[in-house]
């Protein structure tokens, strides 16, 4: 790979990084507005037009809050916890293919941070690390509620990772590759009509989305921060931007989970009739330009899918009540895992 291409790749990585942060920022706003709309309210609408500058105002508020260290806390780990949560959350978006390649002359730019042939395992690994930020932060706070939140997060994540991995195996069995880019490309092959994986894996998708809710600690599985029982859960003692980092990490996780679901089950950057559109455009614009236009539309397509999933996450959050802890564990171990194994058998058979 010559240097200009490498530079382009670095640019793509930077853009992916920035977009993840931007989406996380506006997820906080979207969450408040969606919550308000679902409850017949209007939500924040004061800062800027439609309240669009609200995240900025929140950031200013968080930055100017007092930095607080609880007595008896482990200071180094107390700071390390939120940083780790943020880093692991941001790492996962690196391998997600946000689009097909763009072609300028002889340069080909893939709209993907980095292509590895173990893409799915990478995402899975990074997501499984996400719990450390919560555990370390919760433990270092020297607070019983925080510790309980941390312990709940740990056991919940481990339990649901199993079902999640098993539901992923079914996808792997039909795609026969771990590369997210190849999985996306397989879901639309020119010449033949190929459906998205959701058609082949409806059960797997349901298992996966339930596990995604649990892995990102979103309601109805937000036991680690359960306000009614644990004050604030693992971030009870956190204030200022350290608290902000935890909240941010949660939204980035939601974004990554949405992106992974779009790629694995909803065809990623593919959209219906893209080949017909490209052929149509190629007549007037030439093949290369037509391809670039279709790629751009593909990026729009995957972001539409991602935003719908983020909306779904929030919609569910403001609809369903929280599970009880024993119900959560029972659902994970005695329902989801057997279902996932059954799904594997179904896919294999």
């Amino acid at each position: 790979m010559e240097l200009p291409a490498l530079g382009w790749q670095a640019l793509v990585i930077l853009v992916v990084f920035g977009v993840s942060l931007l989406i996380a920022t506006y997820s906080t706003y979207a969450e408040r507005v969606i919550a308000a709309f679902l409850q017949d309210r209007v939500g924040p609408d004061r800062a800027g037009p439609f309240g669009l500058l609200q995240p900025l105002a929140d950031a200013v508020k968080l930055f100017t809050k007092e930095e607080f260290f609880p007595a008896g806390s482990n200071r180094a780990l107390f700071v390390f916890g939120p940083c780790l949560a943020m880093v692991t959350a941001l790492m996962a978006s690196a391998v997600i293919p946000f689009g097909n390649y763009l072609q300028f002359g002889s340069t080909i730019i893939w709209l993907q941070g980095i292509e590895v042939n173990i893409g799915m395992l990478y995402v899975f690994g990074v997501v499984s690390l996400g719990v450390y930020g919560i555990m370390i932060g919760g433990w270092a706070s020297n607070n019983k509620f925080s510790l309980l939140g941390a312990i709940r997060a740990a056991s919940q994540n481990i339990s649901y990772e199993l079902a999640m991995g098993l539901s992923l195996i079914a996808v792997l069995m039909i795609s026969e590759t771990l590369s997210l880019r190849e999985i996306t490309l397989q879901q639309s092959v020119p010449g033949e009509w190929q459906f998205w994986n959701i058609v082949k894996q409806p059960l797997g998708f349901i298992i996966f989305i339930v596990c995604a809710f649990a892995e990102t600690n979103r309601t109805p599985f937000d036991l680690p921060e359960c306000e009614t029982e644990l004050v604030g859960g693992y971030h009870t003692e956190y204030s200022s931007m350290k608290m902000g980092l935890y909240l941010f990490a949660e939204y980035i996780n939601v974004f990554v989970a949405s992106a992974v679901m779009s790629v694995l089950y909803f065809g990623g950057f593919n959209f219906p009739f893209q080949y017909e559109l490209r052929a149509f455009l190629a007549e007037s614009q030439g093949m290369v330009t037509a391809h670039n236009i279709v790629t751009g539309l593909g990026v729009v397509a995957i972001f539409v899918k991602i935003f719908s999933f983020i909306f779904f996450f929030m919609w569910v959050r403001w609809t369903l009540p929280r599970f009880r802890y024993d119900q959560l564990m029972r659902l994970g171990w005695t329902i989801l895992i057997p279902l996932a194994i059954f799904n594997i058998l179904l896919t294999g058979g």
């Binding site: 969606i34 709309f37 679902l38 409850q39 017949d40 309210r41 209007v42 609408d45 349901i206 919609w315 569910v316 403001w318 609809t319 369903l320």
Partner: protein, 192 residues
């Protein structure tokens, strides 16, 4: 034991059906309910831009009225202060000098007239007590929040209504241009 009334409802706890145990139908039902609310009309009133309509009998901030020639009606009789259950009104009476006939309607007038809005309970008894129809509680104005206590003591500078017919009001409701025109004509016919 014999039931005291026949209102008690016997509920049989049936085992859940498969659809109920699967939980997914119930989830979709809940999601559809919240989605309906997503598109329903919002109850919020965006306050500074939109205001809730006042009741027509709302009693708000006091006003000291002028008569049709722009003279203050108050004669400082003190009946309002006597009627006030919260003892919010204080006044100092004074005698009208020569040449002040255009300012005050009666020979005696209020040199100072203060209402303490922190004490006032906006009951409207002062309005009922006034023999000269001088004090009214407006139907569209409230005493706004302030930072200092002494700012809540409203003197004549803030209570007496303006002379200009365009800024006058009736029962606290701004006069329409037609009403203001009628008032202006009346004031012009009877020069002080």
């Amino acid at each position: 034991m014999q039931p005291l009334s026949n209102r008690a409802k016997i509920l049989a706890k049936k085992p859940m059906t498969l659809a109920e145990r699967a939980y997914l139908p119930a989830i979709f039902q809940g999601l559809s309910i919240t989605m309906r609310h997503f598109f329903s009309k919002k109850a919020t009133i965006r306050y500074p831009e939109e205001t809730r309509p006042f009741s027509p009998i709302f009693r708000g901030l006091h006003v000291l009225k002028r008569d049709e020639q722009g003279r203050e009606r108050c004669t400082a009789c003190g009946l309002c202060a006597v009627a006030c259950p919260a003892e919010a009104i204080t006044m100092v009476a004074g005698e009208r000098k020569k040449g002040e006939e255009g300012l005050y309607r009666e020979e005696k007038y209020a040199v100072s007239y203060e209402v303490n809005m922190l004490r006032c309970i906006f009951c409207g008894l002062c309005e009922e007590a006034c023999p000269k129809a001088a004090v009214y509680l407006q139907a569209d104005k409230m005493a706004p929040p302030r930072f200092e206590r002494d700012e809540f003591i409203y003197g004549k500078d803030r209570l007496v209504e303006p002379v200009s017919p365009d800024a006058r009001s009736q029962r606290g409701i701004q006069l329409t241009p037609e009403q203001a025109e009628v008032l202006r004509n009346k004031m012009a016919q009877q020069p002080a």
